[in-house]
């Protein structure tokens, strides 16, 4: 930190001061907690849709088919298969999106509160998310879910940030 005006000056020299301020405001908005949560939700939704599509295609590839389903024409079977794939991938997408949003939102809030950046943020966010997801199944399941999700997110974060 030798020069006080160092840093981002390189790319922005061609713009007027108002444009630089606008760019800075946009970049600040993109780093806010709400936008991060929304983006994580959208990404989770997309990944869940792809996952659901992948998993639901297994049901129609195996030998376990309904009796009355076989009697219908091929076109009707395909339509039925597509509708089933759609509903299943939609439900998985919603689940993944919800999990992603809760995790990203809680991690951003915890990091903003602590004003520090280390591994404890992801552990706490994972514990919160796991506990929230398993809240309906009783306190023991909540504890287990919180511990498992926290350990998982700690492992992933440690792996991504090791040097």
């Amino acid at each position: 930190m030798n020069s006080p005006l160092g840093g981002m000056g390189g790319q922005n020299k061609g713009m007027s001061p108002q444009e630089q301020q606008t760019v800075r405001m946009m970049q600040g908005a993109f780093e806010s907690c709400a936008v991060k949560t929304a983006m994580s939700g959208v990404a989770g939704f997309g990944m869940g849709a792809a996952f659901g599509l992948f998993m639901s295609s297994f049901e129609y590839a195996g030998p376990a088919m309904n009796e009355e389903l076989v009697k219908q024409t091929t076109k009707q079977q395909i339509k039925h298969a597509f509708k089933d794939m759609g509903t299943r991938s939609l439900s998985m997408a919603k689940n993944f999106g919800k999990v992603g949003m809760i995790y990203a939102g809680s991690e951003c809030c915890i990091e903003s509160y602590r004003a520090k950046n280390d591994l404890y943020n992801s552990v706490a966010a994972g514990a919160f998310t796991g506990g929230l997801l398993a809240a309906k199944a009783g306190p023991q399941a909540m504890l287990l879910g919180a511990g498992g999700f926290a350990a998982f997110s700690l492992a992933i974060d440690w792996y991504m940030h090791r040097d």
Partner: protein, 103 residues
């Protein structure tokens, strides 16, 4: 900023120039002190990425806000303690000599 291309020969009052230089010195001294203090407290030594992340941004916001509020409070106290001191610039100079130690 576009009119700074041609340096015209207008007369500049040396009084104003001296005052402007003093103000720049005071400001840069305060800026450097804030940067050193907040860098020690907020930014750890192992860098993973070039940009500030969320925790560091919040820490720097809080550090600068606390520094400025402490400086204002000290300014008020100094004003009461030495009524013969000159206003604004010299008060800021007196306050800057009491830079806070690392807690």
């Amino acid at each position: 900023m576009s009119s700074w291309g041609s340096f015209s020969q207008t007369y500049v009052n040396p009084e104003h120039l001296k005052q402007a230089e003093q103000q720049v010195d005071v400001f840069m001294g305060m800026f450097n002190r804030i940067m050193n203090a907040c860098q020690d407290k907020c930014i750890p030594n192992h860098y993973h990425e070039p940009d500030l992340n969320k925790g560091e941004q919040k820490c720097i916001d809080r550090c600068v806000a606390k520094y400025m509020s402490i400086q204002t409070i000290m300014g008020e106290r100094m004003k009461h303690m030495s009524p013969l001191a000159e206003p604004t610039n010299n008060n800021n100079n007196n306050n800057d000599s009491f830079s806070p130690d690392s807690l």
